[in-house]
Symmetry: C2
Subunit: 223 residues, 2 copies
C-alpha cells in the first residue's frame, strides 16, 4: 500500500482502511511524504507482489506527493532499461472521492469515468509490464451506512490480499481462509466462527451442486 | 505559459519555445517551482485569457511540480465555490515527449492517445468552466528537421496568441498581423516584408474569390 495523502491525520477513510488490514501480516502500509530514499523504496517494491497506490482524488489525479515519488522512484533504469524490476507484479489503485459514483460518466458532473481518469496509471503499468487491476473507487465514504462500510472493508481486504478478488468462487474460498485464521487466533470466538464457517461451506457445496446441475441441463439442451 | 520543467536548464525544447515568444509582449513566460505565493499565482491567472500548461511528459502526466502547483493554487474557493474565477478562459497544454507520435495509440508502444492521457486536465477545465483547447504535442523535438522546427515555432506562436488557431482563414489573418508588426518594428527589413505581405494578401483575395465561386456553383446545383 503506497499511501499518498497530504493530510493523513484529517482523513476519514484512511484510519478505516488501516484498521481493515491490521490483521494481515503480509500487507505493508507505507505512507509516503516528499522525503524518501529511492533505493529503499525500490527494494520495498521488489519485495511485494501486489502494489497499490492509495489516494484521495485531487483534480482528477493523485496528490502531488505520489507523482513526486513516482517521478523519482520509477527510474527508467529500474522499471524498463534491461531490468524491468516490476514485471509480472500487479498494480492496483484505491481512490477515494467526495462525489457520487454516478457523477463519473459522460453527461454528468465529472464527465469521465474513473477508468478514463486513471489512464496514466494504466499506461504506466503497461510500460513497466505490470498487470493493471480494476480500480477500487470509494465514493462519499462519510455517507456510507454501517452495512455498506462493512462491505467496503471486505472488498478492500480482498483487493489487497485475494489473488482473484473479482471471482465469486475465489471470494468464498477467501472468506473460508479468513475464518479459519480467526478460529485459530481466537479461542473464545472459535465455536461461533466455526458455525459460520460451516454455513459458508454448506452453501458452497449447494452452489457447487447447482452449478453442476446447470451444466448438465445445458448439455441436454445442446444435444 | 505555466512552464513545469524540473530541469529547465537541460531542456532542448524549452529555449526554443522561449525564443519563439520573445517578441510577443502579451505572453507571460512563467516557469514554476515548488515555492510560490498562492495569491500571486491566482492574480496572474486572472490577468490572462489563455492559460497554457507546458511540460515534458513524465509517466504519462505532468511532472510533480505542476500537480503541486495545481493542488495549491486551484483552490475550491478560487476555481468553483461561487466565484469561478477562471470561467470563460481557455486552457491549453503543450506537452513534449521523447516518443514517436504514432506510438500513442491502441496497439502501439504507449497504448493511449495523448488526448486520452490528458483527460485529468480536460476534466479540470470542465469543472472550473474553462474552454479546453486541443493539445499541442511535440514529439522527439531533437529529430525535427530545421524546416519542421520552423513550422513548429509558428504553430506554437499561434497556439499561444491566435484566437482561433485551427482555422485556415484565421491563420492567414494572423500571419498578416505578424508581418505588419514586424514591418513597423524593422525599417531595414520593411520593403522585403511588405512584398511578402502583398503576396499573402493577394493569395487571400484569390482564395476569397475561389470560395465565392464555389458557393455560387453550389447554389446553382441546388436550384
Amino acid at each position: 500500500m503506497i499511501v499518498a495523502h497530504p493530510q493523513l491525520e484529517n482523513s476519514d477513510v484512511q484510519p478505516f482502511f488501516r484498521e481493515a488490514i491490521a490483521n494481515f501480516s503480509n500487507v505493508t502500509w507505507h505512507p509516503i511524504t516528499n522525503s524518501f530514499d529511492v533505493l529503499e523504496e525500490q527494494k520495498l517494491l521488489i519485495s511485494h507482489e501486489r502494489i497499490i497506490f492509495e489516494f484521495p482524488l485531487y483534480w482528477y489525479s493523485a496528490p502531488a506527493v505520489l507523482k513526486h515519488w513516482l517521478d523519482d522512484v520509477f527510474t527508467m533504469k529500474f522499471t524498463t532499461g534491461n531490468r524491468y524490476a516490476l514485471a509480472g507484479k500487479e498494480l492496483g489503485i484505491v481512490v477515494s472521492t467526495g462525489d457520487k459514483e454516478r457523477s463519473f460518466r459522460a453527461g454528468e458532473e465529472e464527465q469521465f469515468t474513473i477508468s478514463e481518469l486513471m489512464r496514466p496509471y494504466q499506461a504506466l503499468a503497461g510500460k513497466v509490464r505490470m498487470h493493471y487491476l480494476p480500480v477500487l473507487a470509494v465514493h462519499q465514504f462519510l455517507y456510507l451506512t454501517p452495512d455498506d462500510q462493512q462491505r467496503l472493508m471486505i472488498r478492500y481486504q480482498q483487493y489487497l490480499t485475494n489473488p482473484k478478488f473479482e471471482h465469486f468462487s475465489e471470494r468464498s474460498e477467501w472468506f473460508q481462509q479468513q475464518l479459519q485464521e480467526r478460529i485459530r487466533a481466537n479461542a473464545t470466538m472459535a465455536p461461533e466462527l466455526e458455525q459460520i464457517l460451516n454455513v459458508i461451506q454448506n452453501n458452497q457445496d449447494e452452489l457447487d451442486d447447482l452449478q453442476w446441475n446447470l451444466t448438465e441441463l445445458k448439455k441436454e439442451e445442446d444435444s
